[in-house]
C-alpha cells in the first residue's frame, strides 16, 4: 500500500471549504445588488454600480441613505441570529433550539412592552426601545444561565427547559401588558414584535454589525471545541476540551449577539433555526465552515426577505418577521422533503 498522503485529504477539505465560502460571498454580493435595486424608487440592478460610482443625485441618496443601512443591518442581524442558532444547536445538541427558544425574544419583547406602556421613549428618546429590548433579553439570559448552570456544573437540558419556561412566562406577562395597554401603545408593541430593518439610528446599526462580526470571530476560535462537543460532553472532555467553559462562553456569546440583534430589529424569527440547518446539509457540520457559512447565509436570507417585504405591496411595507416566517418555513419544508435528510445536529 502506498504511504498515505496526508496533504491530499487536507487540501481537498480546505479547497471545498474555500469554494463554499467563495460562493456565499458571491451570493452576498448578488443579494446586496438586488437589495439595493428593490424598493419604491425604481432603480435597475445594472444601474446600481454606476449610481454608486457617480456619487450624486436623488438615486445616490436613496441608495446610500435609505437602502444601504438596511442591507448592512440585514447582514449584521441575519448573520448574528444565524450564528447564534448554529452555536446554540451545537451546545444543546438539539436541532430545534434557536435563539428565541431560550426566552431571549420573550424577554426582549417584554422589556419593550414595558417601556412602551410606561412611556420610556418620551424620557430616553430613540435609544429607549433598543435599550429596553436588550435589558429584557439580558435578564432572560441571566435567568437561564444562573438557574441552569448552578451547582458548579452546567446541565444543558436544565438550561433548555428553563429557557422555554422563561419564554412562556415572559410572553404571558406581555399578553397581560398588551391587554392593559391603550390602542396606540398596543400598535407600537405589535409593530415592534413583528420586526423591521428600518432603523434610523446609524450608531445602533454599527453596534449590531460590530457585535455580530466579533462574535463570529470569537466563536470561530471555539469551533474545534464545538466539533468535539458533537461527540458528546464526555468524549469532548476526554479530548482535553474544557467542556464547562466552552458551553458557558458559547451560551453567553450566542445569547448576547441574539439580544443585540433583537434590540435593534425586533423579533425576526426563523433565521436562527432555518439557516444553520440548510448550511449543515449543503456545507457540512464542521463548525469551522458551519459558523462563517451560517453567518453569510443568514445575511443573504435577510437581505432578500427585506427586499421582498419592501416591494411586494409597495409603497407599503410588510413586516420582515412575516416574510422570514413564511419564506423560511416553506423553503425549509420543501428542502427537507426533497433532500430526505433528517434534522440533526450530530
Amino acid at each position: 500500500m502506498n504511504p498515505p498522503s496526508g496533504s491530499a485529504s487536507r487540501q481537498k477539505k480546505l479547497f471545498r471549504w474555500g469554494i463554499s465560502l467563495l460562493s456565499l460571498l458571491v451570493l452576498t454580493v448578488v443579494a446586496f445588488v438586488l437589495g439595493m435595486s428593490a424598493g419604491e424608487l425604481d432603480i435597475s440592478v445594472w444601474d446600481v454600480p454606476r449610481i454608486l460610482a457617480e456619487k450624486e443625485g436623488v438615486e445616490y441618496v436613496v441608495l446610500t441613505r435609505i437602502r444601504l443601512p438596511r442591507i448592512i443591518l440585514a447582514i449584521a442581524a441575519g448573520g448574528g441570529l444565524s450564528l447564534s442558532g448554529a452555536v446554540l444547536q451545537g451546545i444543546y445538541r438539539n436541532p430545534l433550539v434557536e435563539p428565541f427558544t431560550l426566552g431571549i425574544s420573550g424577554g426582549a419583547a417584554l422589556g419593550v412592552a414595558l417601556a412602551i406602556v410606561f412611556t420610556l421613549p418620551a424620557v430616553l428618546g430613540a435609544f429607549a426601545l433598543p435599550l429596553a429590548g436588550f435589558s429584557g433579553a439580558l435578564l432572560a439570559i441571566v435567568f437561564v444561565y444562573v438557574l441552569g448552570a448552578r451547582f458548579g456544573q452546567v446541565n444543558v437540558n436544565n438550561m433548555l427547559l428553563i429557557g422555554v419556561m422563561v419564554s412562556f412566562v415572559s410572553s404571558s406577562v406581555m399578553m397581560l401588558m398588551m391587554s392593559l395597554a391603550t390602542a396606540q401603545n398596543l400598535h407600537s408593541i405589535i409593530f415592534w414584535m413583528m420586526g423591521s430593518l428600518d432603523e434610523p439610528n446609524s450608531m445602533l446599526i454599527r453596534l449590531t454589525l460590530i457585535v455580530s462580526v466579533s462574535s463570529l470571530v470569537v466563536a470561530s476560535f471555539f469551533s474545534r471545541a464545538l466539533n468535539a462537543l458533537r461527540l458528546g460532553e464526555a468524549n469532548a472532555w476526554h479530548l482535553g476540551i474544557n467542556t464547562g467553559l466552552t458551553i458557558r462562553v458559547m451560551f453567553l456569546l450566542a445569547s448576547l449577539v441574539a439580544g443585540v440583534c433583537v434590540a435593534s430589529t425586533g423579533v425576526i424569527g426563523f433565521v436562527g433555526l432555518v439557516i444553520p440547518h440548510l448550511v449543515r446539509v449543503l456545507a457540512g457540520s464542521d463548525y469551522r465552515i458551519l459558523l462563517p457559512a451560517s453567518f453569510l447565509g443568514g445575511g443573504i436570507f435577510l437581505i432578500i426577505c427585506d427586499a421582498i417585504a419592501r416591494t411586494i405591496i409597495a409603497p407599503n411595507e410588510l413586516p420582515i418577521g412575516v416574510i422570514t416566517g413564511i419564506a423560511g418555513g416553506i423553503m425549509f419544508i420543501v428542502f427537507l422533503s426533497r433532500s430526505r435528510s433528517t434534522l440533526k445536529v450530530n
Binding site: 496526508g6 476560535f221 458528546g232 476526554h238 482535553g240 476540551i241 457540520s285 440533526k344
Partner: protein
C-alpha cells in the same frame, strides 16, 4: 515495572451518594490491566473518576505521579486517551473523527490540522484497518468498525495510557477477538499501557496481565489473573457458582457457568451416592 497510574485513597460519587470509598489501585507501565466486577460494583464510576470526569471527593488519581485534576486539560489528553462506550456525531467521516484525536496537540487558536496531523491520523487508521473506510460516515459503518475507529482516534492522541470502557460489549466474537488482539499487539509493539473495564471474565483472563475485581465500591481482590479468577473469589465477588479450569491452549483461567437445574441434580446425585464429587472439586 513502576506505577503509571495510581489511584490513591480515592472516593467519589454522585450527589450525596458515595459509590467509591478509599480505593487504592495501580496500573503499571507496559501492562494490560483489567477492571472486573459485578454490575453496580462501581466500575464505571471508577472509570469516570480516572478520566477526571467525576471529581474526587477525597484522595487522588496520579498519572506518572501528577494529580490529573491539576493537569492542564490538553496535557491530560496527551498522556491518557479514552475509548468510551457511547460516541455520538454520526455524520462525521471516519477520517475527520480520527483527526479529532489531534485536538489535544493543537496550538492555541490553531484552526486547521497540519499535514503532520493528517499523517499521524492516517498511520493509526492503517494500523487499525479503518483507512479504507476514511470517507464513510461513522453512522454507516458497523459496530466493530466504529470501535476500531474509536481506537484509531485514541491512538492519534499518542497517549501513554489507553483507557477503554468495555471495548468488546455489543460485539460478536469475531470482533471481540479482533479488538483485543489489536490491543495486545499495540501493547507489545508500542509499549502502550492499557487499562480497561471488561465484563467478560474469560476475555479478562485471556488478555490481561493484571486484574482488579471491584465489589461494592472497593477493590475486592487484585493480582494476576490466576489469583483473581479463582472460583472462590468469583463466587464471593459475584455471588454466583462457577467452575474455573485452565484454557487447554493458553493455560489461562477460563470460567464456566452452570445452570441451576443441573446444579440441583448434581447435588441430589452427590447426596444419594454419598461420595465426593470427582469432576474437579469446584462444586
Amino acid at each position: 515495572m513502576s506505577g503509571l497510574l495510581t489511584v490513591h485513597n480515592f472516593s467519589c460519587g454522585y450527589g450525596d451518594k458515595f459509590v467509591l470509598r478509599d480505593v487504592n489501585l495501580q496500573a503499571r507501565h507496559g501492562e494490560i490491566s483489567g477492571i472486573i466486577g459485578p454490575n453496580g460494583s462501581g466500575k464505571t464510576t471508577l472509570f469516570r473518576g480516572i478520566t477526571g470526569e467525576l471529581p474526587a471527593r477525597s484522595g487522588e488519581v496520579l498519572l506518572n505521579g501528577r494529580d490529573i485534576s491539576q493537569m492542564p486539560y490538553n496535557a491530560r489528553a496527551r498522556s491518557m486517551a479514552v475509548v468510551a462506550q457511547h460516541v455520538y456525531a454520526t455524520d462525521v467521516t471516519v477520517e475527520e473523527y480520527v483527526l479529532m484525536g489531534r485536538l489535544p496537540h493543537r496550538k492555541q487558536f490553531q484552526l486547521f490540522e497540519t499535514k503532520e496531523d493528517y499523517e499521524i491520523a492516517h498511520h493509526y487508521m492503517q494500523l487499525t484497518n479503518v483507512y479504507d473506510l476514511r470517507d464513510k460516515l461513522m453512522s454507516k459503518i458497523s459496530g466493530g468498525e466504529q470501535q476500531l475507529a474509536n481506537i484509531a482516534r485514541a491512538l492519534t492522541q499518542q497517549p501513554e495510557l489507553l483507557l477503554l470502557d468495555e471495548p468488546t460489549s455489543h460485539l460478536d466474537i469475531t470482533h471481540q477477538v479482533q479488538i483485543l488482539n489489536l490491543i495486545q499487539k499495540l501493547n507489545e509493539e508500542m509499549k502502550l499501557s492499557v487499562l480497561m473495564i471488561i465484563h467478560d471474565l474469560n476475555l479478562a483472563g485471556e488478555y490481561c496481565d493484571y486484574l482488579v475485581m471491584l465489589k461494592d465500591g472497593q477493590p475486592f481482590k487484585q493480582g494476576l489473573p490466576d489469583e483473581v479468577l479463582n472460583y472462590q473469589v468469583i463466587e464471593e465477588g459475584y455471588k454466583t457458582v462457577v467452575v474455573v479450569q485452565p484454557n487447554p491452549v493458553s493455560n489461562k483461567p477460563a470460567v464456566f457457568l452452570v445452570s441451576d437445574k443441573i446444579l440441583k441434580q448434581k447435588k441430589q446425585k452427590n447426596r444419594q451416592e454419598e461420595s465426593p464429587d470427582q469432576s474437579g472439586g469446584n462444586l
